[in-house]
Symmetry: C2
Subunit: 384 residues, 2 copies
């Protein structure tokens, strides 16, 4: 098995990008990543996407994007696991190289959400839940997260306001990220007064509907050295699953797939949570940030809000999260998010994170979560 | 890179399966394949599917199916490339093993099409084409294939009736396949009198809307030997792409992605078309069977109908195709088809194809085609 590393990254700004179509988003991110890596044409392309089939009436994005990038002929496919689509696409890229079947692989996460009606988007996002056992009862995806948050607050006796630091941290960090959707800090007062989306989830507990694409170029270590690039190594790329429907979870607040995938990644690398300098967390909702931090071993069960309250999640904290704004404020173009997380960690490990730079960041980790925890992809990256 | 082989196969009958849900279809095929291989639980699962997001409001099939099979926790994802979804899912499975990251991998292709309205299915299938440049003009997927067929007939001066042998062969072979949708032979007269779907394509040039699932279990050669199984080796697994839209093809009737993927598969294995004992072709429309045979080097350009006319595609012919009924008569549950093709070839290589057995079949090939040729996956399999 060959060592795999990241030799290029690219991203579009995230927002309501009326002038940019689905394929143009993917193109911009991929071309930026290819230019960053100094490559012309990859051997293969994996596209992470969740909603194009419903919202853009477009399947077969792999071939579509490959052709639009001028890479007609190469191997290409789409990989999907709801909001973890970006993460599983990166894993597919890692496999292609590790197996020796490809040398230079491009991975793009892309989502175009803002051209559809809010009904179409809400129905689309609900496909991440169990259609027969959850959505058939009329529950939305936000509502499922609200059930988790409510249970968390009850089980651990945590007030709603305890989640505010997740949102404040994300918004503060987004200010200096030119690609972030919401480049403004918010106050505790703003969080307190936010309209409720699905109780107890409020506007600032939730990530936005948006458009965006991120991309990485992967290569074997040897190729990176040939190109004269200081590579970021992919030490672990692990996916684990759980049932989609919350009612059948063995441990409702345990986020079991996140536990399994983090544990396997730690075992494969010998790295522990203490070694991780930056953790890009899947804060689609603030409750998910808390659950992921606990499942990955960065906080004890029921204590993630304490970590956040004590400044542990800030860029100078014990485990910096959402360092470029996270899903909350950088934005959450769903199928692209897993790749944005990787791009953010690479930016940190390269020391290019500007005002949000985590000092001496050498080891970074991401968790990309599909549904309410049904698919979880953990990546551990390290500076050479 | 480790050698990969197929140690188990499973399938559901294909048809209008009103009593069987999407997840149940996948379950039945996977459990049959696992039983065939004698394994309890794979390390990973890849699901090939095209339409569940639109027709069943269900994303994240990887985790959903893994859980429904009792495999909660394992790695899982969905892989999509329109009607080549099954093929790219098999390739993902091959990669997982070749890279050493998994030992036993399950791959399932599944599609549930008959619960939706015909408008929903027609719109869904059209997502395989270019939404912005083709479908926006109102063209359906059948109509795009009709354009290809019309051009073929004009370019090579071939009458419509010359395509009849593809349909007759498929229907004849389906009679003895208990899993086929249409287990009845048809006559030339039936073909001649068939209603037109989109001129020149008639009913018997077209594969049916249907439900079904097929599965394979993959393992390294060493594991197969431990289990005491005579494995079928995966010698090549190659994907290539082209533009989605027909108007931008460099060579309209060349099916360039099929040429590239076949050529690479031949180069990787040293196998030539003459060595192939059975070729499961993507006969979604009879024109596609002809184009694929030519692109893969089994017939000269413009001569595939001659091969068919002269009996070359029958089970005792030079290059037997659609040996269990093909997409035409076995059925074409779109995202499942690439896996059905592999299952059919394995059945042949094991010598278990009954009345349709190709004598001494040792090397088999499949081509799975997404869209009108935008994604093409070629697999070459061989008996140990």
């Amino acid at each position: 098995m060959r060592d795999v590393c990241i030799i290029g990254i690219g991203q579009t700004p995230i927002g309501e990008l009326w002038d940019t179509s689905l394929r143009q988003l993917a193109y911009q991110a991929l071309k930026a990543a290819a230019a960053d890596a100094g490559i012309e044409r990859p051997d293969a392309l994996y596209v992470g996407n969740m909603l194009a089939s419903r919202l853009s009436d477009q399947a077969q994005l792999g071939a579509l994007v490959a052709d639009f990038c001028g890479w007609r002929g190469i191997e290409a496919a789409t990989v999907e696991a709801a909001c973890a689509s970006g993460g599983v696409a990166v894993q597919a890229g890692v496999r292609a190289i590790a197996s020796g079947m490809a040398d230079v692989v491009a991975v793009c996460g892309v989502e175009k959400m803002t051209e559809a009606t809010s009904h179409e988007v809400t129905s689309g996002l609900a496909t991440a839940a169990d259609a027969d056992y959850e959505v058939a009862h009329g529950v939305t995806f936000v509502a499922l997260n609200a059930l988790l948050m409510q249970r968390y607050m009850y089980e651990y006796d945590v007030p709603h306001e305890a989640f505010a630091p997740f949102s404040l941290n994300a918004h503060r960090n987004a200010v200096s990220n030119p690609n972030a959707m919401f480049r403004r800090a918010i106050t505790l007062e703003t969080y307190r007064k936010a309209p409720i989306i699905a109780p107890p989830i409020n506007l600032y507990d939730s990530s936005p509907i948006c458009d965006g694409a991120a991309a990485v170029i992967l290569a074997p270590l040897a190729v990176a050295r040939e190109l004269g690039i200081t590579p970021i190594r992919v030490l672990a790329s692990v996916t684990a699953t759980d049932c989609l429907n919350l009612d059948d979870r063995r441990d409702l607040l345990g986020l079991e797939a996140a536990q399994i995938s983090a544990q396997k990644a730690y075992e494969q690398t010998g790295i522990t949570p203490d070694d991780v300098d930056v953790f890009e967390v899947h804060d689609a909702f603030s409750i998910m940030a808390a659950l992921s931090l606990e499942a990955a071993g960065f906080a004890e069960r029921g204590k993630a809000t304490h970590l956040a309250r004590d400044g542990g999640i800030a860029p100078d904290g014990r485990v910096p999260i959402s360092t470029m704004g996270g899903l909350k404020a950088r934005g959450h173009p769903v199928g692209a998010t897993g790749v944005y997380e990787i791009v953010d960690v690479v930016t940190q490990l390269r020391g290019e994170a500007g005002a949000n730079q985590v000092q001496d960041a050498a080891i970074g980790m991401t968790q990309n979560i599909g549904g309410t925890g049904a698919t979880v992809v953990t990546h551990i990256l390290a500076r050479e």
